[in-house]
Every structure is written in C-alpha cells, then in structure tokens.
Point group: C2
Chain length 138, copies 2
DNA sequence: GTTTGCCTTAAAGTTCACTGTAAGGTTTAT
DNA sequence: ATAAACCTTACAGTGAACTTTAAGGCAAAC
C-alpha cells in the first residue's frame, strides 16, 4: 500500500508519516522497485498505535523511547508487556488529572444550578464591588 | 500579593503569569505605587483555573476565547454557565478519547496475560515470519 | 512523448506556548 | 550609599512537532 492510501486510510498527513518514520516512531517501510514506500500491515499498525498515543497526549520523544525499547526486546514478551504497562499507567495518571479538572468544573456548574441567589465566592464578590453594588471590604 | 509570591504559591513561573496576563488569559492585575503587580484573589482564582485547563490539554487560544466571552457576559450568569458547560463537555470528549486508548492498551495487556502461547495477531505473525519461525503466508 | 500528478530527500519555515534577555527603575540589606 | 535582589516592558530566542519548499525522479493518462 503506498503512502497516499495509508495517509487517507489512517487520516494522517503523508508528511507526518514520513516524519514519524524518519524519527523512529514507526519501523522503516519497505520500498518498491522505484524506491516508493510500500506499507505492510505491520507499519500500519504501528502508525495507528502512534496516532492513538499522540492523540492521548504522549510526547514524540517518549514514544521514540518506547518504540526503541519495545523493538530491542522483540525476544522478550515480558519486557514488552511491562513497557506497555508503563504507557498505560502514564495515560491513567493523565486521566486522573483530567478528572480533577472535570470535577472542578462540575462543582462550578452545580453551584450555578443550586443557588437562585448568586452565591458570592471571592471572585463574584470582587466583581460586584467593581460595579459599586457592594461598598465594604470584609 | 506580588508576582513572586503568587508564582510560588501556584507553582507557575513568573514569566508565564505575565504572559497569560498580556494575552488575556487572566484579567489585568492591579499595580502598587511603584507599578508592580499586586494580585488579588480574583486574579489568583483565574490563574488557577487557567492552569487546570492548560493541564487538561486546553489550548491557550480557546482559553482566550472562553475568558473573553465569560467576561463579556458578566451580567448573565446563564451565559457564563453555558460557557463553563461547554468547557466541561470539551474535556469530557477528551476523556473519552483517552479512555479509548486506555482500553486498547488494557486489551493488549490482557492478551499478553491470558495466553501462555503467544497469540498471533498480524503484527506478531509478521515478526515471527521475519525470524524464520514461520514459513507460509495465510 | 509530454504533461500531470505522484513519489523521493534534505532542509528551511511555521506555529504554539512559553522562556530568556536587555535596559532600566525600585526596594531591602549591609 | 551601594550592592543585591526584586520589579517593569518589549522583544528576541527556544523546543516540540510538524509543514512547506526546492529540486528532481517515476508513472499513468491523453
């Protein structure tokens, strides 16, 4: 499969596919007689994995490290497994951070919901003071 | 509170605090007699919010848009609430993407776990063929 | 058979979000 | 009173991750 087809199938720019290959995020792609890239399912799977991980916020650098180690241990399933576990834990930590922010926003929303009279947190207090609807400091 | 104290309290570089203010991510900070920034709880709350959202992967640009709209609707709690709801939904969508990748990795890990004999997915098949442990195409 | 559109590489350019620097004023410590 | 340690602005520099460009080879269509 040539680069254009892969690019369209995976929705990744051709330029990015070359960039990833040049930088060791995906294995070297076999070439045809004219020197054009001819992707196999192996490279396509790697590209999909890289896309998913990039999308999840993993840096290119740490993916290069991961891929390098993973291929180095092609003989050891245990080593590969623990590398994947590492990526998993990394993403899980990211998800926990995201959840904290979601909870914070959810609290803000509830707070808007539950009070017909606006609840004066410090921010709102300051806003009202600026509008001369309040005169005194606490 | 001066910029150094805020920087230390919130663990955000002074340079970043100025950058955020210059670019409209947090409101203008009041100045003392010497022209130094003198933060109130209002700006500190905004900075914390921006930090959380940046951490959750929200771009500076969309945060500028959010802050601009939010302040524009300082008279309408309903409008502000729906803006926060928008941010919430955005993060929720991001979390769902992250979960997809987590599930993918969890599957990979289970698959390592459950099979003493390696399960041949297309990638592993290709690897084994390269090592001459398999001879034929499917 | 030549134009159109694909492919190649190497290298320069772009964008984002800071981060550091230069030039200078202010405040605290000795 | 002078150095050290803060603060200011404006603007240049950085690093990450692409993205575009330049220069040229190959291939399907007319």
């Amino acid at each position: 499969m040539n680069i254009k087809e892969v690019s369209e199938r995976l929705d990744i720019p051709k330029e990015t596919l070359r960039y990833w290959e040049n930088n060791g995020l995906i294995p070297e792609v076999p070439r045809n007689a004219s020197g054009y890239r001819d992707y196999t399912e192996n490279e396509i799977k790697w590209a999909l994995f890289i896309k998913a991980m990039r999308n999840a916020g993993m840096s290119v650098e740490s993916l290069i490290d991961f891929v390098t180690l993973y291929r180095k241990h092609s003989d050891s399933r245990e080593a590969q497994k623990s590398l994947i576990k590492e990526q998993y834990d990394h993403l899980l930590a990211q998800r926990n951070e995201l959840d904290k922010t979601l909870n914070y926003l959810a609290y803000k929303l509830d707070h808007f919901e539950d009070h017909v009279m606006p609840f004066l947190d410090e921010e709102e207090y300051y806003q009202l003071k600026k509008k001369k609807m309040l005169d005194e400091d606490k």
